[in-house]
């Protein structure tokens, strides 16, 4: 059952340069939301389209979202203040499987860590490999993940925190330490393809969270259609979580 929720903003604060953490009061949504699902946020009456944002946490009636200001919509969103209302459509998409047997490794780059946080929140045996451009971009993620995961591995492009390089540089090493049942990844497509390649080499299931521009978010408009090994799919409805084999098949 999808719904439009009239929620109230608890807080909307910059946690790193141009990255905001938004907390909204949304009891019903927080109950029904599955890890890896997303919402369509109405920015204001002046915006023709809603903006898709991942649910990073849904707990105790509160839904948390992390977003980067990249254009007009997210910029306007960043000006909203505590107490203002936010119209939200959700929860959308399929979500990650949170009933898997065994330990899961979450691998996220940049804002891709948002949906992974909601997975960490839901399952116990879970570690995270965090990638970012620099210390500032990963620091707040570390704080968010600390309580939810066992191990945190960190890479930064500039080496200002953790090991220098990309998540794909560190991943093979991480996979040697520990046996994982599956890899869940979200971030730039090139990163996810890299992760998938390593997953294949290690014979591990790999699930990815995809991003496409979306209008309806309901599977109606075909803005977000993609080719998969089993035909055309809609990222908003059939995804955003896909078995990497389905989408990176070529």
């Amino acid at each position: 059952m999808l719904k439009i929720f009239d929620t109230e903003i608890i807080s909307n604060a910059e946690v790193s340069a141009n990255i905001f953490k938004l907390e909204i009061n949304a009891p019903e949504l927080s109950q029904i939301a599955k890890a890896g699902q997303f919402v369509q946020v109405k920015i204001s009456d002046e915006f023709t389209l809603r903006r898709p944002l991942g649910i990073a946490s849904a707990k105790n009636g509160v839904v948390k979202i992390f977003y980067r200001v990249i254009g007009k919509g997210t910029e306007f969103l960043s000006t909203k203040e505590t107490g203002e209302h936010l119209n939200i459509l959700g929860a959308l998409g399929n979500g990650f499987d949170t009933n898997i047997n065994g330990r899961i490794l979450l691998i996220g780059g940049g804002m891709g860590l948002a949906p992974l946080l909601s997975v960490a929140e839901k399952i116990d045996a879970v570690d995270v490999l965090i990638g970012g451009r620099n210390k500032g971009e990963v620091d707040f993620w570390i704080k968010e993940f600390r309580a939810e995961v066992d191990k945190i591995y960190i890479t930064t492009d500039d080496g200002s925190l953790g090991s220098r390089g990309f998540v794909t540089s560190l991943l093979p090493e991480v996979l040697e330490y520990e046996d994982y049942a599956a890899l869940y990844t979200c971030g730039p497509e090139i990163m996810m393809r890299g992760v998938y390649k390593i997953a294949v080499e290690n014979n591990l299931p790999c699930y990815v969270s995809l991003e496409r521009r979306m209008a309806c978010g309901l599977g109606a408009c075909l803005s977000c259609s993609i080719d998969t090994a089993s035909g055309r799919k809609k990222v908003c409805k059939d995804g955003p979580i896909f078995d990497a084999r389905e989408v990176f098949y070529e």
Binding site: I4, L49, R50, C216, C221, L222, R232
Partner: protein, 301 residues
């Protein structure tokens, strides 16, 4: 269901004169959490072609001032799958108006014939596509081509034929008259205005298809003008659309001469918007003690 809003357009009984525009409402099912499909005058489903199609590559939508551009293209599962898998699922839930597109006049005929089945309330000819077989000109920008498509479709179906006009023309009334003469039972307009956006960082067109169709509030003044002009030019009923977001917008179209209206882009911002428009229209009429027909085409010049 409120009696006041009931209407009939070329034989299609509608509970309200508010329809969902093709390409923005899927096959209707996607909106059941927000919309009572029976309360809609009908759902103009995503365009159907003879063969399944994947549509355009690359980015397919972008937001523009008070509007959006789309280049979905003609992605659809093809008429066969529509008839065997989709239609049976949806046919008893709403008036199914099937929007069809072809590469040639014959395509439209064939589609019209295949769709002449129980459960289809009407077919809507999307003539904003190029005549691939015959020079590539857009059917809807040429009165002869538009008429040819219309009369061919009419020949092969017993269903009402709605012809959907492209606004990218010098004289919309010329095309409207041509399709009326060719037998159109109803005219719907407007389809999208052709537009383009360029990303100033990458220097590439934002859309995978370079250009796309402009829709949403931005186009409303153009749509109202065209509905008004066409209403002066033809006798068949008109389904007006283009930028409708509120009951007030819809009323403008009725006054301009539309017998019913369709809502497209506004469904994205608010999936329940068609219901709100129906309610708003009902209040407008009730508070003035009017019937729907009392406002259709009643703009005072």
């Amino acid at each position: 269901m409120n009696e006041q809003l009931k209407t009939e357009i070329c034989g299609i009984k509608m509970n309200t004169p508010i329809l969902a525009a093709s390409g923005t409402f899927g096959f209707g099912e996607e909106f059941t959490d927000f919309v009572d499909l029976e309360k809609l005058g009908g759902v103009m489903v995503k365009c159907i072609t003879l063969k399944p199609r994947a549509g355009n590559k690359g980015v397919r939508i972008t937001e523009t001032p008070a509007g959006m551009l789309n280049c979905i293209g003609l992605e659809n599962p093809g008429v066969e799958k529509f008839l065997t898998e989709i239609l049976p699922r949806i046919k008893n839930k709403m008036n199914v108006i099937v929007n069809i597109s072809g590469n040639s006049v014959e395509d439209y005929g064939e589609l019209a014939k295949l769709l002449d089945v129980e459960g289809v309330a009407a077919i809507e000819l999307n003539i904003s596509c190029p005549n691939v077989k015959d020079g590539g000109i857009i059917f809807g920008t040429n009165p002869k081509a538009a008429a040819a498509v219309t009369s061919t479709a009419k020949k092969f179906t017993s269903k009402p034929v709605i012809v959907k006009l492209s606004p990218n023309v010098t004289d919309i009334t010329e095309i409207a008259r041509a399709v009326e003469s060719a037998g159109a039972d109803c005219i719907s307009l407007i389809n999208t205005l052709m537009g383009m956006e360029i990303n100033i960082h990458t220097w590439k067109p934002t859309l995978g298809n370079i250009t796309g169709g402009l829709s949403g509030g931005a186009v409303k003044p153009v749509a109202v003008r065209m509905v008004y002009q066409v209403a002066q030019a033809v006798k068949v009923p008109i389904i007006g659309m283009g930028g409708i977001r509120t009951a007030a917008d819809a009323i403008e179209f009725f006054l301009a001469g539309a017998a019913a209206v369709a809502v497209g882009t506004a469904n994205f911002a608010n999936p329940a918007v068609t219901m709100e428009i129906a309610n708003g229209l009902e209040n407008y009429l009730a508070s003035r003690d009017l019937n729907l027909r009392d406002i259709i085409g009643k703009v005072k010049i």
